[in-house]
């Protein structure tokens, strides 16, 4: 099993969610995060004082998926999240040892 994690621009969330839904992904977790990569931050000016906002708001999506579907999920997220401008984010994949569904106690692929 794999955990696919994506950090994307907030307004791309709908497109990513639709793309995953269309390919049959049954669940995901979304959280608001802040960070920066190559985009760095931006500056804001209040009454003449300039402030650098280093951490920009992003959404993080976590999806648990069967090994054989992982590449397709990554591809779907990348295609849906891409605007072509700097700051589109990143997607990475990590291996998962075990998953348990809390309600039933099912384990492994059955719990996805």
């Amino acid at each position: 099993m794999k955990l696919v994690t994506a950090v994307i621009k907030p307004h791309q969330l709908d497109a990513v969610k639709e793309a995953l839904h269309a390919m049959g992904v049954s669940g995901m977790t979304v959280s608001e995060v802040q960070g920066y990569g190559r985009q760095k931050g931006h500056t804001e000016v209040y009454r003449g004082a300039e402030y650098t906002v280093e951490f920009l708001p992003k959404y993080r999506i976590d999806v648990l998926i069967d090994d054989i579907d992982a590449d397709k999920v990554v591809e779907a997220i990348v295609n849906a999240a891409r605007t072509g401008k700097i700051g589109d984010g990143k997607v990475w994949v990590t291996s998962v040892d075990e998953v348990v569904r809390v309600r039933t106690g099912e384990r492994g692929l059955d719990a996805l």
Binding site: V45, Y46, G48, A49
Partner: protein
């Protein structure tokens, strides 16, 4: 004399309008502050409503508008504090206006003036220290200055025109704010860390309430409904509108973008500048005054970064500076809208240096503003210094970093993350509340 109902009605409404300015100021200042010190900032304004209303009734109105205690032959510094303590004829009327109504109207001015100072104290002043300062400064500075300027004291005798309080309110508060910024010292991390406003819509909402209430402040100060009321009302609008533009034009050129904080601040600068002068300018000169006051204040708020004083929310840069601009403007372009009592005819004439009035008005304006600037600054400096030495003024560094709201009030403005409902010790008593 009989009570004049239309005039009295207008001043009652104006009093309520002026009261609303202080909660408006709380929002304006609160939005400019950081999220961890909003409660404290707004509490300084709200506590001013409580404290100053009480002191005004007890003795403030007496000091400001009671029987003058003269200095030999000339008018003095203060009125008799007990002039209105229960024994005086409070049902009296002056020009058809009940004394009670005038007392209420002027009470709102005192509240606002004290609250204005709090903008210099962001994040770091003990609440008890603030209350002591507020009471002391009100007693030694505000009430006597109101007397000297408006209540028959010696500054009014100099011939100054301070219609709604450019000198008595804004220069006065601005000078005290600068003194306290110096006494309290800079906030931890200022100016290198981020002190950006936490809620810009609050700032705009606060400015809007100030603007709305200011019609009572300015047009109400005629204490009647007549042609001067009309001029004051219109001038308040045009000067404020022009100042909004003046500020954003300057910041657009200087910083690259026009901002909502800038538009809100410009509006307040315009309101300040037109306060002393709203009844003494032809509307076109009120408009030019607004443009100038907005632009100059936009530049003046940068001064603290050069001179290294932490006037957190720019009380000096806006109220003191725009107050001076508006006060001197009367001496440059002032106009006397006089009505000939005998004929009822309009006999307007120039008051200022540039419209045939000579230099005497300008001199009176300068002297009055200078006296109040020095008096307020020095007394605030002394009160602040005593409080600081007594350990009553500045919170400890770790409290400032963690947030003054929690330390001084055991409150926080916002719940951002509540994974578990908080428990309450009041739960044990909930039976008595009818559950």
């Amino acid at each position: 004399m009989e009570l004049n109902a239309p005039d009295t009605g207008w001043i009652l409404v104006s009093s309520a309008l002026v009261l609303l300015m202080t909660p408006g100021l709380a929002l304006f200042y609160g939005g400019l502050n950081r999220a961890k010190s909003v409660v404290n900032m707004m509490m300084m304004s709200f506590s001013s409503i409580g404290l100053i209303s009480v002191l005004w009734l007890l003795y403030g109105f007496g000091i400001a508008f009671g029987t003058d205690v003269p200095l030999g032959e000339t008018p003095g510094f203060f009125g008799n504090p007990s002039s209105y303590l229960g024994t005086a004829d409070l049902f009296a009327e002056v020009d058809g206006l009940p004394t009670y109504v005038f007392m209420a109207f002027q009470m709102m001015f005192a509240i606002l003036t004290v609250a204005l100072i709090s903008g210099a104290l962001s994040d770091r002043a003990k609440f008890a220290g603030w209350l002591i300062f507020a009471a002391a400064w009100f007693t030694i500075v505000y009430a006597p200055v109101a007397h000297m300027v408006w209540g028959g004291g010696f500054i009014g005798d100099l011939g100054v025109i301070d219609f709604a309080g450019g000198t008595a309110v804004h220069i006065n508060a601005g000078a005290a704010a600068l003194a306290l910024a110096i006494v309290l010292g800079r906030r931890v991390g200022w100016p290198h860390q981020s002190f950006k406003p936490h809620n810009v819509p609050f700032v705009a909402l606060g400015a809007a309430l100030l603007w709305f209430g200011w019609f009572g402040f300015n047009a109400g100060s005629e204490l009647a409904v007549d042609q001067v009321t009309a001029i004051a009302f219109l001038n308040t609008q045009v000067a404020t509108a022009a100042a909004l533009l003046g500020w954003i034009i300057v910041e657009w050129i200087k910083n690259g973008k026009p901002t909502l904080v800038g538009a809100s601040s410009g509006a307040v600068a315009g309101l300040v500048a037109i306060t002393p002068s709203c009844a003494s300018l032809q509307p076109i000169w009120a408009l030019v005054l607004g443009l100038v006051a907005g632009g100059v204040s936009c530049l003046a708020v940068g001064l603290k970064y050069v001179l290294k004083y932490d006037d957190s929310l720019d009380v000096f840069g806006i109220h003191f500076v725009a107050g001076w601009v508006g006060t001197l403007w009367i001496g440059l372009f002032g106009w006397d809208f006089a009505i000939d009592e005998a004929t009822g005819e309009y006999v307007g004439s120039g008051l200022g240096l540039f419209n045939g009035g000579g230099a005497s008005q300008l001199l009176a304006q300068f002297e009055s503003a200078a006296i109040v600037s020095v008096w307020s600054f020095v007394v605030a400096l002394v009160i602040g210094f005593i409080l600081k030495k007594a350990g009553l003024f500045r919170v400890r560094e770790e409290q400032e970093i963690e947030g003054i709201d929690v330390h001084e009030h055991k409150e926080s403005a916002y719940e951002t993350f509540t994974p578990v409902e908080s428990t309450t010790s009041a739960g044990a008593h909930s039976v008595s509340s009818g559950v």
